[in-house]
Subunit: 694 residues, 2 copies
């Protein structure tokens, strides 16, 4: 039975027969549910059960067809031509990145706290079910692919922040119980709930992608009990002194672990000390004791790590950065999998004693560069089966592979091949920030790489935006056209603020060889980053006023509600709604590199623009990359006019950020070059007709 | 049975078994009920049933003794010495003036509106029951007499504002149903509910006074059906042209209707036209038709006025100001009672036709100045029985008589005598603003008059505050020591703002021959007046920001919640809490005129102060009447030192607005005059010890 219908049934059945005083931000109610009250601050008071039922009826069941669990690709594009790589639908998508736990967090009972169990015993952090409320907003903005940060069960051992990081996965094959919604009670299993969300997205033509994390795992992992040998171990008593060894002999800070450094690394006293700390896994050390421990665990449950500590004095060694002399502290909540059952082929020669216990070091981390002879096949099979589980159980459409760059090439191949056997049109995104590896990634079967947009786009004054916009077209696979991610500062909190954010968000919809990517919260000018992982300023944690309830909170670890009540919250969504039909009309033009035409300017400081050849016209997107000042901009049309016979003195403006609707356009100079006055950070889109005679 | 216990029972029984998301301002929870949540804005989330039960248990039942319904005076001071006037307890009281409907208004469900029936089917305007929550605040401030604006049933015909004015009474012997609280359901009648409030106040030693309105009545009054001859009538078709006649022949505007003007008045063409409009009452016109109408009314109910209009084409003549050529428009919702059944003795001689129908005119309004031969005894008896009804049913302790100055002296005597027969210690306040009439009012049996404090105190720069503070001691009865009333601008919205308000509120606690009077809202620096009746500025209606939910609203007519969340809301209550024990200790000293000693100053611009002789010491209260600037102040102690042998060079500061606690004081100049630095609007209280030797 359709999980959406089952959800509807559960909501009707579970609706309490007393009044609920329950608030949601206006942004959750874009489909026009008739609220009990609309508050001046932008909150709507609704009965959440009625609200969701209305959403299902009015929005989701309108174009509803019931299907078996399947990806949208399998439903719509079952036949993939053999010579084309499956999954390339991602190249025409607009991606919205979100964390289920965060994006629908709200203080629904307005008691001043985000409760996990509020006055109505409902959950105020995000859930799969509550995420349905965001779909009309995403649809309005033209989003057709939802990319979910990890949703698998994660460990709360040594958790970061108030809630812990979802990157510390402890069980790949279970969803995290925190994402369950008490509104549906026992009527829908957690699996059902996620399935209902995927089904809901699919009815709106939106694909759903997940983030899988095959390289690391929680130190408190469900896999330990059956596979202690897949992990690295140290004495529990050494945990306090355990650290990434700092190689004084290498003067550089934070260098990649290329082979030239390895002799030095293996001679370093600190490294040798570090390696000596590692111990053989408990099962290898004492089979009988391990069997006894397993029985105790089966009987009593509890923390497996505590049990191993009690019986063996051992614990899992935490992970750390794969870069030498990186100053990041160890990642206390996660560890690495042992990708090979022996030491690395190339570096084991530096080991005095070849029989040392398996150890974590820059080379063993970078198992793609430093393979061993004996792949950990059983582990690899497990990892390769994660995605098929999500495909078969929930019908997901694609995945990003976290730290794929540190996985053996053969394992990546296996993961991609296994998934594409289930769904030939399954999309893969490589966590590859280095655009030099675009071709290699595409060769591995990835449809696209993440790229470095988020670190290039905001740095307009250093020329990085122009470099990124104009050079990415030469890459062998697409990158994300994005100015922020869950790891970076927020655009609205950068120099240029809201103008910068709106400018980039609109412009990115038309970037050649770019896949538009919106980071949840970006659309409401959220200022607080979700994490301070990449490019943080010294004050990155303090982007909110000190009296904000989420001051100093990071969504990746803490309870965090996006600032949906920002008085400008409609600004970006409204602008995206206006460019959505334009992007849709020209999607095949924009996403085919051969239509791209570079443009140059005759007037204006640092404007930026793209042109595309369409059938009967040329589409031009121009942006004033200065988020502070308005300026005059004139496009140099001569090179384009040389190629096409274009209408001399009229065009049509399809969109201008500061105008209300399309209009004809007649401002051309004596050389037939169009000129505009452009507001700070303004984007304009115009089309010039080709003359029919030719 | 005690209504308080009955109330407690009803609250326990009626408490719903589901969660309530119900907000109250912090000011309602001064007794420390443990809230479900405390919000950053100062609201507390509580279950209102638990909250009230806790209030009853923790605050009200602590010193509880059960009594028959009775005034506090009857309970505590049964024996009033015959030569003393009863009711003089008011002279030692601190009065809090409030309107039940307004002072506990709150948007409890926070849906953005003050609902009469909110999400929980509870009332968000004020009720008798909710008023219990204010008692701890009043107690904290030292209030021991609550003066209630009218609570009788009023007419909604031609109502002013959203809710209508409680001054348009339609039935003296019923409470207004809007003050009933749905929390108690049917368990307590509306009478029970008011009785519970009076009982609650009495347990805290607070007296309760009401406002009675014997001169005017709603045009749609419950009395019409039985007593059409108590009212003035005109043709319904004349209502549109009906107006107070403007006497062009008198050049002055707004003059009192003294005898010297009356010949002119009665010659005026407009007046004659006005008099001719009046008609005999319908019953007098046609007894049979009236009998038929009565039957129809008994059967169908509905609007009595509409019925009279249908059958007789008559309607009640609206009231207007008793001043000649007052520019106030007619008071469309009320009319006057016919105090005499014949025309005025003194002015009827001007009537050409003595048989004209009874008419409203300046002389018939001012029936104390212009009596007839035939008092309307039946009406007088009815009016004199209002207070005994409230005494016997609810146990009230005193009353103000609205427009008493326009009542026949004999009627006032009758009203006061009848009430004092029930309770010899019943207090009466005259609505007498003219202090020249103080002696006359006292002669009538009033304990005090309102006086003109509210129009004198704020006008410091015109010398009126000093005049009021220093001259009122000579009056033959006490006046209210107050800077605002429900009819005037708010002190916090006057020039001088919060400093002015705090200064006067504290200073008034020690004014000679003054009874401290706090106008509900004054203690939280409310800026919006309740009515624009007296002394309004042109922008009086606009004291709130345009985005305030109560912008342009007047509590007397509209839904209005006081701004209890004002971030300074604790400022005045905290200061009053500090002076409360001082006032209490010296109450007999302060309220006995013979202890009062005027003081003068040697330094400082416009300081103000009072001194009182106590047994072993002299109490001095000094105020910097400048709410904008701090200044040095030196008291001229020489005249006082001549009378008393005071300690030369030390005193004790009991209270200083900007100091945390009492301290010794040694700042005296070479002539033994004390000097201080006083903040803007600061008040200091000090005592100087008399030397024991003498």
């Amino acid at each position: 039975m359709s999980k959406l219908l089952k959800l509807r049934e559960a909501l009707v059945a579970n609706k309490p027969n007393y009044p609920l005083n329950y608030a949601i931000p206006e942004m959750f109610n874009l489909f026009g549910h008739s609220s009990l009250s609309i508050l001046n601050n932008g909150e709507h008071l609704v009965n959440p059960y009625d609200f969701l039922v209305d959403l299902i009826d009015q929005v989701l069941l309108k174009h509803y067809e019931s299907h078996e669990v399947a990806s949208l690709s399998q439903l719509k594009e079952a036949k993939i031509a053999k010579k084309h790589m499956g999954g390339d639908w991602i190249l025409k998508s607009t991606v919205y990145s979100m964390m289920i736990r965060t994006s629908t967090t709200w203080d629904h009972d307005r008691n001043g706290y985000v409760d996990e169990n509020n006055i109505y015993h409902l959950k105020e952090t995000g859930t799969f079910i509550k995420t349905l409320a965001l779909l009309p907003l995403l649809d309005k903005m033209g989003v057709d692919a939802i990319y979910l940060l990890p949703i698998s069960k994660f460990s709360l051992k040594n958790k970061k922040g108030e809630l812990g990081s979802p990157y510390g996965v402890s069980n790949f094959f279970e969803l995290d119980p925190s994402l369950a919604d008490p509104m549906v009670g026992e009527a829908l299993s957690l699996d059902d709930q996620f399935q209902a969300l995927v089904e809901a997205a699919h009815t709106l033509g939106m694909r759903v992608m997940i983030d899988i994390i095959p390289r690391t795992n929680a130190t408190e992992s469900d896999l330990i009990i059956d596979h202690p040998d897949w992990f690295y171990w140290i004495k529990s008593s050494d945990l306090a002194v355990y650290n990434p060894p700092y190689v004084d002999e290498i003067n550089d800070r934070t260098v990649s672990p290329t082979m030239k450094y390895m002799p030095t690394v293996y001679k370093s006293k600190k490294v040798l000390e570090h390696i000596r700390r590692f111990q053989f896994d408990p099962k290898t050390q004492n089979k009988e004791l391990w069997a006894k421990l397993k029985k105790e665990y089966a009987r009593k449950g509890g923390s497996i790590l505590e049990l191993v500590d009690k019986h063996f004095g051992l614990t899992i060694a935490p992970a750390f950065s794969d870069h030498i002399n990186d100053i990041q502290p160890p990642w206390t909540d996660v560890t690495f999998f042992r990708m090979y059952l022996d030491h690395p082929i190339e570096t084991s020669k530096f080991l005095e004693d070849k029989n040392v216990a398996p150890y974590i070091l820059f080379d063993t981390i970078k198992s793609n560069l430093y393979p061993g002879h004996k792949p950990n096949k059983e582990l690899w099979d497990t990892l390769a089966n994660i995605i098929p589980h999500y495909q078969k159980t929930y019908g997901i459409d694609g995945a990003r592979i976290d730290m794929g760059h540190a996985l053996p090439k053969e394992l990546v191949n296996q993961i991609i091949k296994t998934a594409r056997e289930v769904d030939p049109d399954f999309a893969f995104i490589a966590e590859e920030l280095n655009v030099d590896n675009a071709k290699f990634a595409r060769g591995l079967g990835y449809n696209m790489i993440i790229g470095n947009g988020f670190s290039m786009q905001p740095h307009i004054w250093e020329g990085k935006l122009h470099h990124f916009y104009y050079k990415s077209v030469d890459l062998d696979c697409a990158v994300f056209a994005c100015g922020e991610t869950h790891d970076t500062p927020r655009l609205a909190a950068r120099d240029g603020g809201q103008n910068l954010s709106k400018f980039l968000t609109v412009m990115n919809m038309f970037m050649p060889n770019g896949v538009p990517f919106i980071n949840s919260g970006q659309e409401v000018y959220e200022r607080q980053p979700m994490n301070t992982g990449i490019d943080p300023r010294p004050n990155e944690l303090y982007m909110l006023p000190a009296d904000d309830p989420f001051y100093m909170k990071l969504a990746l670890f803490d309870k965090f509600a996006l600032h949906y009540l920002n008085h400008m919250h409609n600004d970006i969504p409204d602008n995206l709604a206006r460019v959505k039909p334009i992007r849709k009309k020209y999607i095949n033009v924009i996403t085919d590199k051969k239509n791209y035409i570079p443009i140059s300017f005759l007037e204006g400081y640092n404007p930026v623009g793209f042109a595309y050849e369409a059938k009967d016209e040329v589409l031009i997107i121009v942006g004033n990359a200065n988020p502070f000042d308005a300026q005059h901009v004139k496009i140099d049309l001569r090179p384009i006019r040389k190629r096409f016979d274009l209408n001399q003195n009229e065009g049509r403006i399809l969109y201008a950020m500061h105008e209300s609707g399309p209009r004809m356009f007649y401002e051309f100079d004596e050389n037939q070059n169009p000129y505009f006055f452009m507001g700070a950070g303004e984007v304009k889109i115009l089309v010039l007709q080709k003359n029919k005679s030719k």
